[in-house]
Amino acid sequence: MIAALFKFRGGVKPASHKDESTQAPIARAPLPPRLIVPLRQSAGGTPQPLVTAGQKVLKGERIGAPESDFSAAIHAPTSGKVLAVEPRLLPHPSGLAAPCVVIEPDGEERWIDRTSVSYASETPDVLRGLLRDAGIVGLGGATFPSHLKLKPGTSGRIGTLIINGAECEPWITCDDLLMRERADEIVSGIAILRHIASADRVLVGIEDNKPQAIAVLRAATAQSAGIEVMPVPTRYPAGGEKQLIRVLTGIEIPYGRFGTEFGVQCFNVGTACSVHRAVELGEPLVSRIVTLSGNVEHPGNFEVLVGTPIDELLKLVKPKADTDRFIMGGPMMGFTLPRTDLPVTKAANCILAASPALFPPQGPEMPCIRCGACTRACPAELQPHELYWFSRAKNFGKAQEYGIFDCIECGCCAYVCPSNIRLVDYYRFAKSSMRTLERDKAASDAARMRFELRNQREERDKAEKAARLAAKTAAGRQAVVAPAAPASTPATPETTVSLPPLDEAKKALIAAAIARAQAQKEGVQPKNIDNLTPEKQAEIREIESRRARVRELAKTPPEEPV
C-alpha cells in the first residue's frame, strides 16, 4: 500500500550543498586528549553528577543520573579518569556555562558490562526506563528525551510511527550517511520503537534528494510488514517534525501538544539507531554522527564521542583561511559558536565553517514593506510581518494572539525578506521576553498568595484571641456587668440583649486594665508631692477636692440648659 502524501504550506528551496560531505564514508574521530561532557543534554532538568574528580570511569558508565523522569542519563563516552566536575561554557546560543564532567581518556576504551535485552519479552514501561537510563534523546537536534515521547497519551496509543530521515537543512548529511551505512541498525531500532509504542504502521520520510538512502532503506525494510519508506518532496523545512507528520499523515500538531495525543509520534533515524544500540548491544548513547562541512578542505561525516572539543574535530577537516566563524547546526537554524573549544553534545548534528563567500553578510535592514513574501514562505502559516510589528512594539499580547508560539524558528521568513529584516531574532526576543514576564508574574502571584495567606492567618489569630478572651472573661463579665446593672438606670431587656457580650467583656476588661495600670502607677512612681510641708499638702488636698467636685459636675449631664 502506498499512502498518498499531503502538503505543508510555505517553505523555501535553498541550494542543498549535500554533495560536499557525502563523498567519503563515515569516519571515526580520534580520541581527544580531553572530553568535556555536559550534564544537561536534554530537556527537563540537569542530571546530578554521580562521579567526583579523580575517579576512574569506564566507557558507558553512568556519570549523570536523570533528574526525575523528565531527563535522560549521561554516560562516560570513554574509559579514563574524571579530572573535574565543574561549570564549563556550552555550545548554546545563550553562551551560558553549566556543570560538565571533564574526563581524561586512558586510551583503552574499556566498556562497562554490556548486556543485550530481548525487547520482545519486555513491557513498554521497562523499555522506556531502559532508554532513559541509556541516555536516549532525539538526535535530530531538539534532544527531547525519547522515553517521554513514547509515553502513551491520554487519548490512547501511538498508531503511526514516523521515522524522520528527511534532513532538510542544507549542508547537513549525517542522517543521509547513517541511512546509507547503517540501515540494518536503524530498522532494528524502528522495530524496538514500534514494539514500545505498539504502533500499527511505520512511515519513514526521506527527502527525494537522497536516492541512495531511500534505496538502501527500502531494501532493508523489504521484509518487514507495515514499514514504508516514503520519499517526500525536497523543500525546507520538510524535516521539521510537524511538517513531516503533516506531509506523511495529514495531521497538524499545534504548539504545545504532543503527537501522542493525535496517535502519531516522530523519531529521527539517528535516534532509532541509538535505540538499537541501547537495547540490542547494551551500549548507552555516548557518540553521534557529526557533519563537518562548509568552508573546509576535507568535508565529511564523523562518528564523534559526546564531549569531544570542536577544535579537535576541525583539525580533521582543515578550515580554509578565509573562514570567519563556525556554525553549529545548519545554515537555516544553526547558531554561531562563540568559541571552538566547546564540546560536541548530543544535539550537534553539524559544524559548518562559514566564510563571507559562502554565507554573504546581509544588507542593511530596511523597513518592512508588507510585501507578504514571509507569509508565503511560513510553514506554520503565520503572518510573520504582523508578528514582526508586534514583537518590535513589544506588544506581546497581540504577538501571542497572532500565534508567535506556533513559530518553529525555521528561518524561512528571514530567508526571503527583501528588507533584510532578521525576523527570527525579533521572535526569539518576544518569546523570551514573554517567558520572563510569565516567570515574573508567577513569582509575583506566589508573593501575593503568601501575603494574602499571612493576612488571613493574622485575621484568624485575632479572632481566636478575641474568642479566647471572651471565654476567659465570661465569668468576669458576670461579676463586673451584672452587679452594675441594678445600680445603673433600669435597663430595658432589649438593650441588654442588643449589647454584644464581647463588647461588654471588652469594656469591663479595659476598665479593669486601666484600674490596674493606675494602681501600678501610683504604687511605683514616686510622687513629687510626697515630701512637701503639711501646709502645702493641705493646699493640694483642697485643690484636689475642688477638682473632684468639678469632675463630678462634668460627669452628670445637665438636666436642663443653664
Binding site: R9, P14, P93, P170, K242, R246, E252, I253, P254, Y255, G256, R257, G329, P331, M332, M333, G334, F335, T336, A354, F359, P360, Q362, G363, P364, M366, P367, I369, R370, G372, A373, T375, R376, A380, E381, L382, Q383, E386, Q400, E401, G403, I404, F405, D406, E409, G411, A414, Y415, V416, C417, P418, S419, R422, V424, D425, R428, F429, K431, M434, E438
Partner: protein, 341 residues
Amino acid sequence: MNGSPHLHLPISVRLVMLKVLAALLPGIAVYVWFFGAAILVQIALASAAALAGEAAMLRLRGKPVGLFLADGSALVTAWLIALTFPPIVPWWLTVSATLFAIVVAKHLYGGLGQNPFNPAMVAFCISIIAFPALMSQWPAVGFTDFAAQMGVVFQSQSPQDAVTMATPLDALRTSLHTPEARATVAGILGSHATFGNIGGKGWEWIALAYLAGGLWLLQQRIITWHVPVAFLGVLALIATGFSLGNPERYAGPTFHVITGGAMLGAFFIATDPVSGATTPRGKLIFAAGIALLTWIIRTFGAYPDGMAFGVLLMNLCVPLIDMGTQPPVFGHKDGKRDGAP
C-alpha cells in the same frame, strides 16, 4: 543578536521596486507611440521632484539618505503619478503633486513601509479636487507634436480645443448626463472620435501593455493574483450586470476593464503592498471594494475616474480587513488558538 538563518535570498526592496519600474516600461512605450514624448518629460519631472523631496525628508528625519534614496520606492510613486496625470498637465502641478505625495503622504506618516495611503493616489486626488480643469486636459489622439506639447506643459501657450479632449470615460459620462444628448452607450461609443475599438483610441493598447507588464510581475512573484483578479473580476461583474439590465444607460465590462486607470490600477496601484491588505482573503475584499467604488464613482460621481478615490477609501479599511481576515495557523484550523508560553 545575530542568529539564524545564515542564508538569504539575493533579494532586496530595491530589486522589487526596480522590477515594478521595469514592468511599467511596455506601457510607457505604447503611451509614447500614441500620445507623444510628453509623458517622458512628465516622468522625468516627477522623478526629479520625488528624489529631491525624498532626499530632503530623509535628511530632516536623520535617516541614511543614500540607502533609502536607492531603494527605488520614490521612483515608483513618481512614475505612477506621471502615468495617471494627463501628459500635458502643467509642469508645476506634476512637481507639486509629487512633492506632496512624497513629503506628506509618505514621510510625514513615517516613510517607506509606514504610509497608510497610496502616495500616488493621494497626489492624484488632491490634484483633481484642486485643479479639475487642468486634470481633465488630455491630449487629443493626433496631438503628438513634442514642441507643441512642451508649450502646453511649460505654459508658453494655452491649450486649445484642438489639442485637448476629454477621456473616453469623461466623454461617455458627459454625453449620458447632458439632457439634450439623450444618447445611448452604443451610440456614443460608435460615433465619438475618442473611442477606439473597446475603451478609447490608443488607451486600449496602453492598457494591454500594462496587462503584459502586470502578468510579468505576477510571474516574478512580486505581486499575487488576488488583487488584479478580484479588482478586474468584480468591476467586470458589476458592469455586466448593469449593462445587461440597461444597455443604453450603462457601459459594458470590456469598456470598464480596458478604459481609464483600470489596468494600471489593477496591477500597479491596488497591488501596493504597503497601503494594501496583506492576507489572501483581505486582498480579495480590498480589491473588490476598490472595484465597486470605482464603478460607482465612474457611473454616478462627478469625477471622470473613480479608481484613485476607490483606492484611498479602501486604504482606510485595510487595518480592519487585515484584522478580520487572519487565516488560521498551522494546527489551529479548528479556529481555536491557544498559545501559552
